[in-house]
């Protein structure tokens, strides 16, 4: 494990009478890809803004490379904020060169790097175009280029795929992989659990301004009870102390069980209760399942322990389906 690139300890953020983040502590190690997860309003963006010196924290220590972040230290920082945009009335090459210079690059170097990047993303012929003459997808590519200028050692991406089309999403993922390979530390603030599972070494789940879970993905999965049983069936799922009903639709349900629970007992309970089981698959609990378990109660009533809550949606429409 590398040294802490980012160290946050006892961070608290109040806005008037509202406490948005309370006593938050975590480290992000050099070279790792870190997932910063949480529902809307859980304090993710506030934490990032405080870390970057945009907000003044109410209390706590927020360090990058062992010290408070100041703009003078921002040469090797790549930040893609949630609210993003560039100077729409300026030429693409001028914008990129400007940001390169703000990040400490020489004008000539910044310009050369920008042209190479634009060539890579098939925008070389648009270098002298005014930004708002570019399509939305092209503008996203420029934004990405600005973010990764000057070989960042710390890349902070707040909702990086928000608003991105599939092509640019792919490009973004490639860039994250490249930066990771080049030794960059990456912090991803996101709702996209598949991307987190694929890219992140460790995660933190923020809920109501505090850390709900923190660790490697395995550690977090283990904390939330290990396994999910996905069932295609006919007939209502009975209540049982052996499992928790996470999702129940007309012919498809998901049950959460602990690692110690024997699947055979569950299957027997179902059959004994008159349920016709057509498929029965056990998988490790996904981050998305955990996310829904942690934050689901904020948005809708829990289906846990509710009998006969048959939905109209077909199986798999809400969740990835398990195989037979």
């Amino acid at each position: 494990m590398g040294e802490a690139r980012v160290h946050i300890s006892g961070f608290r953020m109040d806005f008037g009478d509202t406490t948005v983040v309370r006593d938050l502590s975590f480290d992000v190690h050099a070279g790792e890809t870190f997932g910063f997860l949480g529902s809307n309003g859980s304090g993710k963006t506030t934490t990032i803004r405080a870390l970057l010196g945009i907000y003044e924290p109410t209390a706590g220590i927020l360090h990058i490379n062992g010290r408070d972040f100041k703009p003078e230290h921002g040469d090797r920082l790549g930040y893609l904020p949630e609210e993003r945009g560039l100077y729409k009335k300026e030429k693409v090459i001028d914008i990129m060169t400007y940001f390169g210079r703000l990040k400490g690059m020489e004008r000539r170097t910044a310009k050369r790097w920008s042209l190479e990047y634009l060539d890579r993303v098939a925008l070389a012929d648009r270098a002298s175009a005014v930004l708002d003459k570019l399509s939305s997808g092209q503008q996203q590519k420029v934004q990405l280029g600005v973010t990764i200028m000057n070989n960042p050692e710390l890349l902070i991406l707040d909702e990086p795929t928000k608003g991105f089309d599939p092509v640019n999403r792919r490009l973004l993922m490639d860039i994250i992989e490249e930066q990771k390979l080049a030794g960059a530390t990456v912090i991803m603030v996101t709702h996209q659990m598949e991307e987190v599972e694929r890219l992140c070494d460790r995660v933190i789940l923020l809920k109501d301004g505090t850390a709900e879970a923190y660790g490697t993905i395995d550690e977090v999965q283990n904390k939330y009870g290990g396994r999910i049983i996905r069932i295609r069936h006919t007939g209502p799922i009975p209540r049982s102390p052996h499992y928790e009903v996470m999702l129940e639709e007309t012919n498809y349900s998901e049950l959460s069980i602990t690692d110690a629970t024997d699947e055979a007992v569950i299957l027997k309970d179902l059959v004994d209760a008159g349920v016709t089981v057509r498929s029965f698959t056990t998988t490790k609990i996904s981050l998305e399942d955990i996310f829904i378990r942690v934050y689901g109660d904020q948005n809708k009533p829990s289906v846990s322990g509710t009998a006969g809550a048959a939905g109209s949606a077909g199986p798999g429409q809400s969740r990835p389906r398990g195989g037979v």
Binding site: F15, T45, R49, L52, F99
Partner: protein, 425 residues
Amino acid sequence: MAQHNLGTVVSFEFIRTVTKRRFWIGTLSVPIIIAVVFGLIFLSNSTTDTAAAAQKSAQFSISYTDASGLITAKDAALFGATSAVSPDAGIQAVQSGTVDAYFDYPAHPETTAVRVHGADKGIFENGKYAAVAQAMLTHAVEQRIGSPQLSALAAGKVQVETVTYDGTKESGGLGSVIPPLFFLVIFYGLIVLLAGQMLNSTLEEKENRVTEMILTTLKPRTLIAGKVIALFGIGLVQMLVFLSPVVIGRLFFPEALSLTALDLPPLILDPFRMTVGLLVLVGGFALFTTTLVAIGAVMPTAKEAGNFMGVMMALIFVPFYAVALVVSDPQSLIVQIFTYFPFSAPVTALLRNGFGSLSPLEAGIVIVILFVGAAVMLRLAVRLFQYGSISYTSKVNIRTALRAGSRHPAAEKPPDDNGPLKTDS
């Protein structure tokens, strides 16, 4: 200590403005309009002189009747005029084309108009009839007085030269008024052309959502200072462009710049008034720049900010409602208020400075007000930008922003709008 990235911001903001076509269209339009207006005046004066000269030597047939008895046959003969039998006959002669003009001199030309009837030669050339009718009568009266000197005096052709003194020193008169008033013209030109850019300079980051990325590379104070310095540079370029016709004229057309064609005296550059004018111009420009930047930091969109720009523009025209008092009674209450109220001070002080009614003490006070006001507004602009730059959809609560001077400022709303930005410490 130099501010991190200040030079980069200044050069970016400056270059991206002066390389835009619309900047040069706006900037060059001012000297072009001035040149066109001066050209038209010059041309008009030349045309008038030429026309007058032509009318003096105009040759056309004239008949006349004279009820006053002032014009003798000898006087008339000098102009080639012949006596008509009656007014009706004279008019008929014109209508039939027998003569070009008929002049009907009344019994009392000092109170009754001389009627001139002439063949239509076009609106400009028709003026020759009246000129000759006038000349005939003047000549006849001069002959009766018998003295050209008395005639001239009776006609009011008296030249008066006024010399005024400022202490023991001769003051410059109108020639010394015009140069300091150039600063007023430049002030208007700069504000009218740059106000929109001043207002939008901070709004642009907000509207385009660039703020957060920018603020990881420089401090809000650096960004604002860079923009204000760049605006000064842009203003300087515009000032030079505005003055370029005068400089070019002075270098290459010194005769024309004596302004005799405009009936103006030679210009006198009073060092004190020119210095005061320059300082008031710079101070006023600084105050308006920082104020408009501060307004831009508060408003979420250019549309909403536009309402405030109207108010600012009105403030630079308000002193003209009292311009008569500014000139004739500079110590009146309203002029004093306009002189010291920061946003009407530049125009009022520049007017008074031009007309020589701004004392050194008053000038000093106004200059201090403008520069201190600009410094205060710059601080305020930075503070408001710190609070408002990521307030993307709502106006900044100014009271909250001003109250937050401590390390733990309290905002009224949670982010993503209106969070307290870190102050420059």
